[in-house]
Symmetry: C2
Subunit: 387 residues, 2 copies
C-alpha cells in the first residue's frame, strides 16, 4: 500500500482491497460522459441497460449462472441480509415457523440477521465447528428438520480463513430437498479470489459476493439467486433487479464489478499458489520465532492469504497499534468486530481457544504482498511481542 507516499506493509486484505486500476478505467465513461438511468427509453439509457446486462453475462461466465440469477446489491452485508430475510419473509406464515441452520463462526452480517429473525419468530440452529474451525457436513445434516427452509454456511471464514466443505454440504442438501427446500446459501465474499465459485458445481441456491473484497468498486455486491428460489425483497420501490432490489442501478460500479470478477478469475490459480507459499512461510517463521504461539484454524483447509496466530497473553489491540507505528497494517479479529464494545473474537472462541480470543492477530495477504513483507513483519513483531 502506497499510503500517501509513505511505504506501508499492508496485511489486512481480508478487510478491504484497493480498487484495481483496470476496474476504475472501465467505470470512468459511465460516471459523467454517459450517466443515463438504465430504466429510461433514449439511446444512452438503452446503452447503459445493455452494459448492465453485459456485466451480468461476464459475471455469469465466472460463477456459471444465468443473467437473471444475478441481483446487484450495495455490498456483501446487503446480499446476506437479502438472502436470509428474503427467505424468512417468504416462508413465515400463520402456523409455520421457518427454521434455519448456520454455523457459530459466520460473519456478523449473517449472525446479526439471524438474531433479528429469531426476534421476529423464526428458529435458528447454530452448528459448532471443530477445533480446526471446520464444520462437519454430518452436523449440518443432523440439524436439518422438517421446517428447515435454509442452511447458510460461509465458504471461507473472514477471521481465521478456514474453508468449509461447501461442495459436500451442497450435495448433501440437494439429496435431502423436498419441494426444493431447504435452500443452501453461501457467503462467498472472502472465497471468490481463491476458490472455485461455480454455483452449479457447488449446488448452492444463493451466494453472496462483495466488490470491496475483490479489488472491485465500493458500494457494490451481488446475490446469486438460483431460478426457482423463492425470496422476497428487502428494498421496495421502482422494481429494479426483477423486483428483488429496487433503486436505480449503480451503472459504473456494476460495470467495474464485472471487470473485477474477470480479473479475479484470471488470477485465481496463480495468486493462490503464490500466496500459499508466502502464507506458509509466514506461519512457519512466526511459530518458530514465538514458540508459544499457535495457528488459529486448520492449516490445510485454509485460504491462501490468511494467517491468524494466537500469542498467549498478548493484548492484540495494543499490538495492532504498535505494528502500525512500525509501518505494518494488521488486524485482530475482523474490522466489523472492532466496532463492538467487546472486541474479543467469537470465531477464535468457537475453536475452544478462549484464552486466544483477545490475543490473536490476523495478517491477510493480497496482490501486493511479497515474501520480504513477512521478514519486516517478524522484525516488527520481535520488537513488540515478548517471546
Amino acid at each position: 500500500m502506497n499510503f500517501f507516499k509513505k511505504k506501508v506493509i499492508f496485511l489486512d486484505y481480508a478487510s478491504t482491497t484497493p480498487v484495481d486500476q483496470r476496474v476504475l478505467d472501465v467505470m470512468n465513461t459511465w460516471q459523467s460522459e454517459n450517466f443515463a438511468n438504465p430504466s429510461a427509453l433514449y439511446s444512452s439509457a438503452i446503452l447503459a441497460k445493455e452494459k448492465v446486462s453485459e456485466a451480468r453475462e461476464k459475471i455469469g461466465e465466472v460463477i456459471n449462472t444465468r443473467k437473471n440469477e444475478i441481483i446487484f446489491t450495495s455490498g456483501g452485508t446487503e446480499g446476506n441480509n437479502l438472502a436470509l430475510f428474503g427467505v424468512f419473509e417468504t416462508f413465515k406464515t400463520e402456523g409455520f415457523t421457518p427454521h434455519f441452520v448456520t454455523t457459530t463462526i459466520e460473519h456478523p452480517s449473517i449472525l446479526e440477521v439471524f438474531k433479528e429473525i429469531e426476534r421476529r419468530g423464526g428458529e435458528v440452529t447454530y452448528v459448532p465447528v471443530s477445533p480446526e474451525g471446520i464444520v462437519k457436513t454430518k452436523d449440518i445434516e443432523n440439524a436439518i428438520k422438517e421446517n428447515t427452509v435454509l442452511v447458510s454456511v460461509m465458504y471461507a471464514n473472514n477471521e481465521i480463513g478456514t474453508v468449509q466443505p461447501i461442495k459436500e454440504i451442497g450435495r448433501m442438501i440437494k439429496s435431502l430437498k423436498k419441494n426444493n427446500l431447504p435452500y443452501f446459501h453461501v457467503d462467498a465474499c472472502q472465497a471468490v479470489l481463491y476458490l472455485n465459485t461455480d454455483a452449479l458445481r457447488l449446488n448452492v441456491d444463493l451466494m453472496t459476493f462483495d466488490g470491496i473484497k475483490m479489488y472491485g468498486p465500493r458500494g457494490i455486491g451481488m446475490l446469486y439467486v438460483k431460478s426457482g428460489t423463492k425470496i422476497s425483497p428487502i428494498h421496495f420501490g421502482g422494481g429494479q433487479e426483477g423486483g428483488l432490489r429496487s433503486g436505480t442501478e449503480n451503472v459504473p460500479a456494476i460495470i467495474g464489478f464485472a471487470e473485477a470478477f474477470k480479473i479475479a478469475e484470471k488470477k485465481k490459480e496463480e495468486e493462490s499458489v503464490r500466496l500459499t507459499e508466502i502464507r506458509d512461510y509466514a506461519i512457519d517463521s512466526i511459530l518458530k520465532t514465538f514458540p508459544k504461539a499457535t495457528l488459529n484454524g486448520s492449516k490445510e483447509s485454509r485460504l491462501p492469504n490468511n494467517i491468524n496466530i494466537c500469542f498467549p497473553g498478548l493484548d492484540s489491540e495494543f499490538v495492532v497499534i504498535s505494528l502500525d507505528v512500525h509501518g505494518v497494517s494488521a488486524s485482530y479479529s475482523s474490522s466489523c468486530q472492532t466496532l463492538k464494545e467487546d472486541s474479543s473474537s467469537y470465531v477464535v472462541e468457537s475453536l475452544g481457544k478462549n484464552d486466544c480470543s483477545l490475543s490473536s492477530l490476523r495478517f491477510t495477504l493480497g496482490r501486493e504482498s511479497k515474501k520480504s513483507d513477512i521478514d519486516i513483519l517478524i522484525t516488527a513483531l520481535k520488537k513488540i511481542v515478548i517471546k
Copy 2:
C-alpha cells in the same frame, strides 16, 4: 450531454445527473491509493474514518444537522425504505397498529414500502392532492390519529415537480406531537438542488437524499435521523452508522457525496433563477405552439427545472422514442415507472387528469441546459406531435 461525442439535448435530469468532475476528483485518492476500511485501527484506516466524519460535517453544514444524525445509505430508495420500515418495526407491537399518513403522489420507493407495511399489519392513509398537485396541510392534519407514528410527504414531486408546503406541515406536526410522535419524514431527493433543506427550519425528523440526483456519486445516499427519533435498522451486521446501517462504509462515495452537497448549496440560488427562466420559456413556448396542451401541476409551486405537459391524445412512449431520434432525451412519467407493465402515470391521474396519464411528457433541466435547447425541443416536437 456529450453522449460519446454525439451532441444530445439531455432533458431528463430528474432521472439522473452526471457525476460532477470535482466530485470524481475528490473521490479518486480513496479508491486505490488509500483504500482502508474505516473500522480498522492503523493510520490509513483512521484517516479514512476522519474523512468520513469530515464528510458528515460538510453535509451537516448544508442541512443544519449534527454528524451523528447522518446515516449513509446506498441511495434514495434505501433511505426511504429505512425511514418507513425503521419506524414501523420500532412501533409495531402486540395490540398496537402503527398508522402512517402520506400522499397519493409519492415516489414508488415510498408507496411500495407502504403497501408492504399494510401487508405486515400497519395502517396507511393516502391523502389526495389538489388538481394543481399540492397537498393541503389541513388534509394531512385531519388524517393524523392517535396511533399515527409517521407522516411522509415528498418535498418536490419527481414527475410533475410540484413543491409541497413542507415548512407548514412541519410546523403543524410539531404542534401536535405527543411523546415526540408522529415523526415527519420528507423525501428531499428532487428538492435538494433548488430548495432550502435546513432540517431544523423545516421541523423534519427524517429526510432522504440521493447522490445520483445531485451530481454526486452513484450508490450513495443518506437519511437524516434527528436525535431522539426511534428507528430500527433494515440491514443488520457489523454495526456501522451507529448500528442503523451495517456494511463497510463506501468511503470514496461518501467523500464525493459531501462535495456534491457543497457544490449544490453554492449553486442553489443562481441555478434556481437561471433554470426558472428557461423553464417558463419552455412552458410558455410549448403551450403557445400546441394550443391543446396543458401544464401538469402548479406553475408557481414548482421546481425550477421541471416541465411536464399533457398533449391530449398523444402516445407518450412513442414520442419519447421519436424525440430520441431527433437527439432529445426526455421521459414520460418517471424512469422507475417505465419498469411497470402499466406505464400510465399515477401522479398525473392524481390531478384528476385521467386522459393525460398516458399522454404527458416530462422535460427536466440541469446544469448544462440552455434556452436554445428549448428551441431545438420545440422544433422536434413540431415534427412529431400533431397540433
